[in-house]
Symmetry: C2
Subunit: 341 residues, 2 copies
C-alpha cells in the first residue's frame, strides 16, 4: 500500500559519480565525444545506459543558451495546406534532432505576436512564420530578440528576410490570365480577409492588375470572407444577385472554390457550364470535388522542406538564403472555355 518515494531522474552528477569522472567529462562524452578518450567514453556510455540517464532539458538550455527547439506560428492546422507543409517541416527538423513547437494564430496578427512571444519565451532557437506582413511591433520584437526566422508561403524581392515561398501576386495573375484567355470578361473574386493576410491581399492584387489591363474585362466585385466551405457558398449566392452576373469566379483558395461548387450543386447550377470557378493551393479537395478544380498548385511539401533547410542553415551558420518556388496552373474541369461554347 505504501508508496515508494518518487525516484528522481538521475543527473549528470549521478553519472559522474558512478563512472568515477567529473561532470565535465560526462558532458563532453555526450556532446563532443571526440574530446574524450575512447576508454573513458565507453565507460561513461555504459553508465548512462545502466542508469537510464537523459539530460535535463532546462539545465542544458540554461547553460548552453540553446533549446534545440524550433517554433512555428501558422494561421491554422485545419487547412490541409498548412498542415501538410508543417508535416514535412517537422520531419526534416526531426532528422536534425530539432523539436517543433506549434502554435496557431487564426489569421490574426495580434494573436500571432502573442504566440511568437510565447514560443520565444519557450526558448525556440528559430521561428517559422507564414506571410510577410505584420505589425511593426512584431517585427521589432523579432529584431530586438534577434531571433532567426524564415518566412514561408510568400516571397519578396529586395528584402533581407529569409523566404521559402512564392509570389502570390504573380501566381494570382497567372490564374486570372487563364480565365481571361478563355474569353471571360465578367469576373468576380471570392478571397480571404485581406487586412491581416498578405497572401490574400496579394492574390487579390494579382487578379485585379491582370484584369484591369485587359480591355473589356471587368472585375465585378471582390468578396472577402472566411476560408470555409460555408462562407464560399454564401459568397457565391451573394454574387448571384449581381445585376450583371459573373461568368467566372476566381477563388482565393481551394476551400472557398469547393464551397462554391458544393453550393452550386445544391442550387442546381451547373459548373462550369453556367459559371466557371477556379481555386488556389491544389489541396486534395481540389481533385476530389466534381468538377475537379482548375487551380494554382502551391508547392506545399517543397516549401516545408525548403523552409526547414533554410532554418537549419540559419541555426548552424547564422546565415542562409531565400528561395522563390514556382507555382503552376493545374487544368482540370471547373473552368470553361467560352470560345468553344
Amino acid at each position: 500500500m505504501d508508496r515508494l518515494p518518487q525516484k528522481a531522474s538521475p543527473t549528470l552528477e549521478d553519472v559522474a559519480r558512478a563512472a568515477h569522472v567529473s561532470t565535465a567529462t560526462i558532458s563532453r562524452a555526450i556532446n563532443s565525444p571526440d574530446k574524450v578518450a575512447t576508454e573513458t567514453r565507453e565507460r561513461v556510455e555504459q553508465v548512462i545506459e545502466r542508469l537510464g540517464y537523459t539530460p535535463n532539458f532546462g539545465g542544458r538550455a540554461l547553460a548552453s543558451n540553446r533549446s534545440n527547439t524550433v517554433g512555428a506560428v501558422i494561421p491554422t492546422m485545419a487547412n490541409a495546406m498548412f498542415a501538410s507543409g508543417l508535416q514535412v517541416f517537422q520531419e526534416v527538423l526531426s532528422e536534425a534532432s530539432y523539436n517543433l513547437l506549434v502554435a496557431s494564430c487564426g489569421y490574426n496578427t495580434d494573436t500571432e505576436l502573442q504566440q511568437i512571444k510565447s514560443l520565444v519565451a519557450q526558448g525556440a532557437d528559430g521561428l517559422l512564420l507564414i506571410g510577410s506582413a505584420r505589425p511593426d511591433e512584431t517585427t521589432r520584437f523579432l529584431e530586438v530578440r534577434n531571433i532567426p526566422y524564415v518566412v514561408a508561403w510568400c516571397y519578396q524581392h529586395n528584402d533581407d528576410r529569409y523566404f521559402a515561398g512564392f509570389d502570390n501576386t504573380k501566381a494570382a495573375s497567372s490564374i486570372a490570365t487563364e480565365v481571361l484567355k478563355r474569353g471571360h470578361v465578367h469576373i468576380a473574386m471570392i478571397a480571404g480577409f485581406a487586412e491581416q493576410n498578405d497572401r490574400s491581399k496579394n492574390r487579390i492584387t494579382g487578379v485585379k492588375q491582370c484584369i484591369e489591363k485587359t480591355d473589356n474585362a471587368t472585375l465585378l466585385n471582390v468578396i472577402e470572407t472566411d476560408y470555409t466551405l460555408e462562407a464560399g457558398g454564401d459568397a457565391f449566392e451573394k454574387l448571384l444577385q449581381n445585376s450583371t452576373k459573373p461568368t467566372a469566379i476566381i477563388c482565393g483558395n481551394d476551400v472557398l472554390a469547393a464551397g462554391v461548387i458544393v453550393r452550386a450543386r445544391q442550387l442546381g447550377i451547373k459548373i462550369p457550364d453556367e459559371i466557371s470557378v477556379t481555386g488556389f493551393d491544389d489541396i486534395t479537395l481540389a481533385t476530389v470535388v466534381t468538377p475537379a478544380l482548375t487551380t494554382v498548385r502551391v508547392p506545399q511539401l517543397e516549401m516545408g522542406k525548403t523552409a526547414a533547410r533554410v532554418m537549419l542553415e540559419l541555426l548552424n551558420s547564422g546565415t542562409s538564403q531565400s528561395f522563390e518556388l514556382e507555382t503552376e496552373i493545374i487544368q482540370r474541369e471547373s473552368l470553361a472555355d467560352l470560345h468553344q461554347v
Copy 2:
C-alpha cells in the same frame, strides 16, 4: 558598418534593478500576482513592458522542474482529422499557457517511441498519444519516466489510462449495420494497415463481427493499404476483379472512400448505383465528393478539446478521468438501399 555588441535579452535581474525590488518579487509578480502588493505589481508590470522582458525558459524549467510544455505524437498532420483535432487541442492548451510540441510517427510504433523520447527529453510535462496499442518498451518507458499522458482516438473500458476517444470497434459495427440494413450481402472492406494501428484493427474487427453474425452476408475480403486517395483507388480496382463482386465497400476512413469514388468516376462506374461506398471520420472531403459520403462522424474537435482538458487536469491535480465520446452515422448519398431498387 560596425556591429553593435549583441544586446542580450533582459533578465529577471535587470527587471529587479529597474523596479527597485528583488528578483523574488518579480518572479512572484509574474507567477502569483496575488502574493504581491498591487502597487508593486503594477510597477513591476510597467518595467517588464518597458524592457520587453520575457522569462528565460531554461532557467524557469530548471528551477521549477516544469516546462509548461505538452507534447503530442500523432501519425501525421497530413490527415485533416488529426490536424483539426490537434488544432483545438493546441488552442485549449494555449489558453492555459501551455505550449505544444508536435511530432509525427507515420503510423510506425518504433518512430513513435523515438519521438516520445525526444519530447520527454525536451521536458514535456505531459503527452498526447493516438491509439492504445504500443510495444511494451514504449509503455515501460512512459511508466518509468512517470509521464502523464492521454490517449485519444480510441477508448477502452477497464483500463487505467486516460482516454479521450471513442470505441472504434463499436463505431465500425454501426456502419456495417447500416450497410446490412440496406440489403447488401456481398461486402468488402478497404482499411488502413492494421498491424501497428489499433484503430484500423478495431474497425476491421467491428465490421467483421457484425457481418459474421448476419445470415447470408459475407465479408468477401479486407484489403489493408495506405491511407491515401491513390491507394484507395487501387484497392478498389483490385476488388473489381473478385469472382463475386461486392455491392458495398466499407472503407476504413474517408480518404480511402474518396479515393474509391474518384477512381470509380474515372472508370465510369456509378456510385452508389453500381456499388455502394462508406467512409469513416467525416472530414471535409466527405461532404465535397460526389456522391457525398455516408460515413461515421468522429467527434474530432470535441476529442481535441476533451483531450486538452484531461491533460490540464492531469497536470494540475495528478489525476483525471476518461471520456468515451459518441460517434454518429451520417447519411449522405454513397450508400444505396438495395430494397428500393
